[in-house]
Symmetry: C2
Subunit: 285 residues, 2 copies
Amino acid sequence: MTETNVKETLTFFVISDSAGETASKLAQATMAQYPMINFEIFRRTFITTKDALIKALVDAKSHNAMILHTIINQELVQVADDFCEASGLFHFDVLTPPVLEVQRRTGIEPTREPGALHHLNKNYFKRIKAMEFAVKYDDGKDPRGFLEADVVLLGVSRTSKTPLSLFLANKNLKVANLPIVPQAHIPKQLWEIDPKKIVGLTNDPKILNNIRKERMISYGLNPDTAYSQIDKIISELEFATELYNKLGCIVINVARLSIEETASMILNALNLEDHSYFITDDNED
Amino acid sequence: MTETNVKETLTFFVISDSAGETASKLAQATMAQYPMINFEIFRRTFITTKDALIKALVDAKSHNAMILHTIINQELVQVADDFCEASGLFHFDVLTPPVLEVQRRTGIEPTREPGALHHLNKNYFKRIKAMEFAVKYDDGKDPRGFLEADVVLLGVSRTSKTPLSLFLANKNLKVANLPIVPQAHIPKQLWEIDPKKIVGLTNDPKILNNIRKERMISYGLNPDTAYSQIDKIISELEFATELYNKLGCIVINVARLSIEETASMILNALNLEDHSYFITDDNED
């Protein structure tokens, strides 16, 4: 019985009047709870007319899909509800409950402007600057970036410095990173900045060894090079740990952490806020 | 009455056993519907024990917060529900409805492993590669990247090429980009690739003019430089449009689009899937 069920593919339809990021993340979080099931996600984004919505719903019905939607127009929400009730389709309205709670508390109507999440306000410039900053000061390219950065990431090879920098840049933070290798010169700027801005990334030697071996294989190279020798990795990590202690920075072991999880820990540890959409500080430059 | 309400700050508490990305996006989407209201978001992430959860809930109560949570442990969900009911706090369980629907359909229990969204699987490597690729082939640094890329973005200055490349890299796509300036040499590799992989970015001249002026001001420079002169902008855009026509690529005007919206359009137009968490294609290299 269970065997049969596992073999069928379950379908999510993400329907949104905007880019569908919220409902997509929810579909992915749900899918991750069932690694043994095959899923597919269809996205129907920028749905702002009744015709487009009905087309998406008919399509969803043909897949017997589970519908997750974020639609702000009440008439369209009603269309979706009625269609799904009549067709016996699972549907989950993600956006309405919190929007109505704010209305209940304040007596203020929502703007009901689709995609209001994505206005091109001053955050837009801040974010573009943060991303350009991350690209410019990636990989220790220019240590002068440390002085300007909100966060400086240090780490041996394969501790996710670049992806982490870019992920944090997406949250409007200026991030510079520096690879730590025993032989390398440590730029003097590192000692000039507040250690509370520095994060030392480390990893378990065995995991690092496996990651590096896989990397070598994926590059079509011999996995047993010095780069992946465990003794060398241990001495690299020791060198890094010693440096982190001298600097007095926080240290995060990324061994079992995803980029999202590490980023979230950095935000918490450094007391930084995710300003990806809203800036509450009026003193922003 | 309304005036008074606007002045108070409304608080969201995002409580998650993982990084809290889904509920954060939902809080932001809700906040965007009420531009006249002051909001704050508090994140309580990696909450996996009853003690930590109760601490977060007590804190939320002291802020009279609206609680959005994604918690997979049923006992913890029950604790949150009971606490919020007893305290009269608004709470919205974002994750349970779709998880239970999958269980209903398949008879399979969810793994109930917190943060299951973020497993370090082969996507991890694909994503790291995609991000490194975006940094390496940003800004036309090396046109050989075009041949390897999933998407090649072309655009005049300030059409969000770098942020877009990084955003798409986060969805595991290899993206290269090239700034289009009338005087510049167009690399021959551009004519060797499938035009279906190329996206030409354009913008409204007036908006571009304003963006560039603001950029000059933010850099402490005179806003009325050649860089922001409208005639020059128009001729740049004409040059770009001509090139796009010759290439036969799709063209997107980013004038009123956010990065998320443009990225979503590119995914749709190029028939690409968001593989940020799951790869369904078994033939992946």
